[in-house]
């Protein structure tokens, strides 16, 4: 790695930040080395999740101008192809940033992690803290019901949905909805937005629920205010131990998943044995 680049990073040099992220993406083994002499610290992390096309990117893109005084980083995740391994990184085009804004935005492909997060996400979150950023928005891949690992990683997570995406039964189902801080009903210029609001407000009276229209810039100020409160509300932040535990589980899960993907092949299929018995045998072996 370039000499003095960590020093430049700490001064808030965007180019240094961008280059170090690339280094980590190329070789994960550099992560411990980079942080060897640094404090273990995270900024506030807010997760933004929801189905594809619900307006996550547009929404966080519009919020920038309401939070100009805060040093924000945005990490935008899009899926890698399982067939061809490439990805279309198509979130950033919806985000309005002006040259000169302090915001730092970076797009990631999932790289076929089982979590749908990028493998380098914990490390790059700590990196931006070193560079002096106070807040990270993480926009997940399109998701909806059980993809709640973002709730484990982020301090708080907001679910972005659109009107007419289900009735009361959908709203009381188990899953991510139990774990989130708030629900943003985006595209609320479309019909059904108010009844959606009423359904959720009735069931989750303790959650932050608002109607927004990112396109028409309505309700964005309310969301910005909520984020300012999140920044002040340090009590609820994940602590050092919790963060380290997350990283531990996250890395192990991804590593094991990769091993399973690589090593469990047709040769391990036994003709006269129930697959469950074979699976127990292999799992026991792997965890030894």
């Amino acid at each position: 790695m370039e000499k003095g680049i960590i020093k430049r990073l700490k001064k808030g040099d965007r180019k240094a930040l961008a280059k170090i992220i690339t280094e980590i993406e190329k070789d994960y083994n550099k992560i411990p080395e980079i942080f060897k002499n640094e404090k273990y610290e995270y900024p506030l992390i807010l997760g933004i999740t929801g189905p594809p096309g619900s307006g996550k990117s547009t929404l966080i893109g519009k919020i920038i101008k309401h939070l100009k005084d805060i040093k924000i980083a945005m990490f935008l995740i899009d899926p890698s192809s399982k067939l061809k391994r490439g990805a279309i990184l198509g979130d950033r085009l919806r985000i309005e940033e002006k040259p000169g804004d302090t915001i730092y935005i970076r797009s990631f492909s999932t790289g076929n992690t089982t979590s749908g997060l990028s493998f380098v996400l914990p490390a790059v979150s700590r990196l931006v803290k070193l560079a002096g950023y106070d807040l990270i928005f993480i926009e997940t891949v399109g998701a909806g019901q059980i993809e709640d690992i973002i709730c484990d990683f982020a301090d708080k997570t907001y679910l972005v949905i659109q009107p007419a995406s289900g009735d009361e039964i959908q709203a009381i189902k188990s899953g991510i909805i139990e774990r989130i801080e708030g629900i943003i009903i985006n595209k609320s210029d479309l019909s059904g937005a108010m009844s959606m609001y009423n359904i959720f407000k009735m069931i989750y009276s303790d959650k932050f629920i608002i109607n927004t229209s990112a396109e028409k810039e309505e309700g964005i100020d309310k969301f910005a205010l909520q984020i300012r409160n999140d920044l002040k509300d340090r009590v609820k932040l994940k602590n050092r131990k919790q963060r380290k535990l997350f990283e531990l589980k996250f890395y192990i899960r991804e590593m094991l998943f990769r091993e399973i993907d690589k090593k469990i092949n047709i040769n391990l299929v036994e003709d006269d044995t129930d697959p469950l018995i074979t699976a127990k045998k292999i799992a026991k072996h792997m965890l030894q």
Binding site: R14, A87, L89
Partner: protein
């Protein structure tokens, strides 16, 4: 773990809103295993370079169908130079033969005019890192 894929930014500077071609190229490059970031239409050269720097892109593809390619691409190349970003830049769109020499003189690595086959662009991009 899957390591970093080469990251290519496909950008549309200026006021032209025709991006069918840019999207076709973006998808073709994705299918070859690249991470392709599409900037969307109507970006200022300054905005494009900001994206290239933040994302630490490995390559930049510019598309322009409005006829203002000489001015817009020049501005992009000037800022790249000022920011000391050294990555290969290729261009495509409605670009007349007689402009190609000029575009190469300002540092554009390769120009793809009307009638270019997607495969030619893929072949060009694939070769970029083979030498290194």
């Amino acid at each position: 773990m899957q390591k970093r894929r080469k990251k290519i930014v496909i950008a549309k500077p200026g006021l032209d809103g025709h991006d069918r071609g840019a999207k076709v190229i973006a998808r073709a490059l994705r299918d070859k295993g690249y991470d392709v970031l599409y900037t969307g239409i109507r970006k200022a050269p300054e905005e494009i370079i900001r994206i290239v720097i933040d994302e630490d892109a490995d390559c930049l593809g510019l598309s322009c169908l409005s006829g203002a390619h000489k001015e817009l691409f020049k501005r992009v190349m000037d800022i790249l130079k000022k920011e000391r970003v050294k990555i290969p830049v290729f261009a495509g769109g409605i670009i007349p033969e007689e402009d190609i020499e000029y575009l190469k003189s300002i540092g554009i690595n390769r120009v793809f005019g009307p009638g270019t086959k997607t495969d030619d662009i893929i072949l060009y991009v694939d070769k970029l890192w083979k030498k290194a």
